[in-house]
């Protein structure tokens, strides 16, 4: 019998000697997550829709194009500066749909609660879900509730799934990215990740930073109306940050990407926190930012469109797509040197000194 990637096998495809147990990094959005997807999930469930590997999937149903996606939220602490787990659970799924070019319509809401979780907190989270849904113009139309024994959960976990419709003429796919295209970011990076870190136990530092969590569907709508089919790819750089998102795009599109460090918008507070903690902001999570890759001819129009929306005021052109070094992201540093921006391996761990 031949062992192909599509061959059904009962032995675990993840090398047991290396990883006998799941590590946190398997869920970190970096290389280990990718390894799980490539070696365990893709070969097991293989189908053309799954293999597009986008934030959401595009399905043709009765002549309409639907976008469908799901996401789970396990953030700690559940209330953080600028938002909470409920708002995040709506915006995360809404944004995954928006990154398919879709207008988000309906959400499901599944709650896994730990015995003893304060009812007051639950009410606050549910209210946030409602407010965020209203703001993003989506409806929560189905749901589920489970409770686990005390000590078997972390207060509350949320899963949301969502569907949306893709307007005619819009086609967002990594395969459409081609050399000459221009890379834009809708605003300052790494805000969410640093805002969360600032309230983590053992790490509290004083800052006025708030998470950037926001629904991006309206911003994306504005962009698509201005530039139409010339938008080739959209991505919200959440876990793993801008670096991981661009690496994935470069790999699926078989193109190179060149970033200009000096053009990447980043706030002073975020920059300072990253310097102190030894973190690279390119790998820090965002929850209300969008990367757009557009045809060169519409770059300025796209920039204007993004900047015309309140969520895109700090938008900037940060890089370009090239034919050279396919699959690799290169950064031209502030001092004029060059280096690669690799996919994150494991979690970003703060340094010693």
């Amino acid at each position: 019998m031949t062992e192909g990637p599509n061959h059904f096998t009962l032995s675990c495809p993840i090398p047991i000697q290396e990883y006998p147990a799941v590590l946190l990094a398997h869920g970190g959005g970096g290389r280990l997550t990718q390894m799980l997807i490539e070696r365990m999930f893709l070969p097991t469930f293989h189908n053309p829709a799954l293999e597009t590997l986008h934030d959401g999937v595009v399905l043709e149903v009765g002549g309409a194009r639907l976008a469908f996606t799901t996401d789970s939220f396990v953030i700690s602490p559940i209330f953080f500066p600028g938002g909470d787990i409920g708002e995040l659970a709506v915006n995360g799924t809404v944004n995954d749909l928006a990154m398919c070019g879709a207008r988000p319509l309906y959400l499901s809401l599944a709650l896994i609660l730990e015995e003893g979780f304060p009812m007051e907190d639950l009410w606050q989270v549910v209210r946030s879900v409602q407010e965020a849904a209203q703001k993003a113009e989506v409806e929560v139309v189905t749901g589920d509730t489970k409770v686990v024994d005390r000590g078997k959960g972390d207060g509350i976990f949320i899963n949301t799934s969502g569907v949306g419709v893709i307007p005619e003429g819009v086609e967002i796919a990594p395969q459409r990215v081609c050399p000459g295209d221009v890379v834009l970011i809708s605003g300052a990076i790494a805000v969410h990740g640093i805002a969360i870190l600032s309230v983590r136990e053992g790490l509290e530092f004083e800052t006025t930073l708030e998470s950037d969590t926001a629904p991006l569907s309206e911003l994306v709508g504005t962009l698509l109306r201005a530039t139409g089919p010339q938008v080739h790819m959209l991505r919200d750089p959440t876990r793993g940050g801008v670096a991981s998102a661009l690496n994935e795009i470069a790999a699926s599109a078989s193109v190179g990407i060149v970033l200009e460090e000096a053009h990447i918008p980043i706030g002073d507070e975020v920059k300072g926190a990253c310097e102190i903690l030894g973190l690279d902001p390119l790998y820090v999570a965002n929850e209300g930012k969008c990367l757009a890759i557009v045809a060169k001819e519409v770059a300025e129009t796209a920039l204007e469109a993004l900047r015309s929306h309140p969520l895109g005021r700090e938008a900037a052109i940060v890089g370009r797509v090239v034919e050279e070094h396919p699959g690799t992201v290169i950064l031209r540093s502030r001092v004029g040197g060059k280096r690669i921006v690799d996919m994150l391996s494991g979690e970003q761990l703060p340094r010693i000194c």
């Binding site: 590590l23 280096r339 690669i340 494991g346």
Partner: protein, 362 residues
């Protein structure tokens, strides 16, 4: 951003590169001691901006990398025990021991926590009086004062459930070991700015004199490094062999005397094994007898262990600047950050990690 952007200015950087180009008349080999400097060099692509005559080799200044495997295995054994909260700086967690790393201990149920300061570990000990809190005290002279402070405070508070596993190492003996090694090619050093902030640079003067090498105390921003390189090369070309201070905004000749006093009060100098290099005489710090009760090695009585180093890993040669990471046959193939054979591939100050992250395929 203030105090950062000034040291990353492109025009100023070009000016230093040009000055270096005009100064250099023959090939020179320089070593930056600190892994933080190595990362700046590769992250900003400084090595590729320099004239061909200048060869940079990377030094042993990665505390995580030089922590001996035996001590790491001891840490893993202690962390696996029930009733122990094991605290460590983040970059130690993924360093491979003989069979496991600390993150795997955590995944298997061990209480391993990442802390930012030994004082956080001390706080944990106060909050959890029924548990043993152990801090993995890794680092050069830079982290020694804070670790000494934690032990001193633990004694003042009469804490019975706090201890440290000391893996402290010292820079000057390592520089001497490199200079004494047969076949050494290093002609000048960038000394580590943060170590010198604590210790000053008077210790380096006899080394510069005895071995006739220029040593320039250097910071960590791109312009610091370029200026440090320029100063070292200028001294070499002019025949001067002395200690100079590029990082004057942070370092004084005598250093931070108060911090030094605290280190001396709690620690004493001892011989220390460096991973991949071997024992260097008088190159480490251990707790003084008066503080022996805070020594995790004594408290937990971990047996001597037989360690298994990867036969393929050339970390020792990398850490002495004898080889560069891409010269290793396993680099980027059998040794990656996901599956490291040695510590320099996973530490945020490790040379292999810097080459892997910033230079592959570029």
């Amino acid at each position: 951003m203030k105090y950062i952007d000034e040291y990353r200015d492109e025009i100023a950087a070009q000016r230093y590169v040009e000055a270096i180009r005009q100064t250099v008349t023959r090939p020179w080999t320089l070593m930056e001691i600190c892994g933080g400097q190595t990362h700046t060099i590769l992250k900003f692509g400084l090595d590729r901006m320099l004239p061909r005559e200048v060869t940079l080799v990377h030094g042993p200044g990665c505390p995580v990398c030089v922590t001996p495997m035996e001590l790491l295995d001891k840490a893993i054994a202690i962390a696996s025990r029930p009733g122990v909260i094991f605290c460590s700086f983040g970059d130690m967690l993924r360093v491979p021991g003989s069979h496991q790393d600390l993150l795997m201990v955590k995944a298997e149920g061990g209480d391993v926590r990442m802390v930012y300061s030994p004082l956080d570990a001390l706080k944990l000990a106060q909050q959890n009086p029924d548990q043993e809190v152990v801090f993995f005290a890794v680092g050069f002279e830079t982290t020694a004062p804070a670790n000494a402070m934690a032990v001193w405070q633990a004694q003042q508070m009469g804490l019975r459930n706090f201890s440290i596993l000391s893996a402290h190492v010292l820079v000057p003996p390592a520089i001497e070991a490199i200079l004494n090694a047969p076949g050494n090619e290093v002609q000048g050093f960038l000394a580590p700015g943060h170590v010198c902030t604590v210790m000053g640079y008077w210790e380096y003067e006899p080394i510069a004199e005895r071995y006739q090498v220029p040593i320039v105390v250097t910071g960590f921003e791109p312009l610091d490094i370029l200026q440090g390189l320029f100063m070292t090369l200028k001294a070499l070309e002019e025949g001067r062999r002395e200690v100079e201070n590029q990082y004057a905004r942070s370092v004084r000749r005598e250093g931070n005397v108060q911090a030094q006093r605290l280190i001396q009060q709690v620690f004493e100098v001892t011989d220390r094994a460096w991973r991949g290099i071997g024992v260097i005489p008088r190159s480490g710090l251990r707790l003084r007898e008066e503080y022996a009760e805070f020594d995790a090695e004594r408290r937990f009585d971990v047996a001597e262990m037989a360690v298994e180093e990867s036969p393929e890993c050339i970390a020792g040669l990398i850490l002495q600047g004898r080889k560069k990471p891409p010269e290793c046959l396993a680099f980027g193939t059998r040794c990656t950050p996901e599956h490291p054979l040695g510590a320099p591939m996973v530490s945020s100050e490790g040379a292999c990690s810097a080459y892997y992250r910033y230079t592959r395929e570029a």
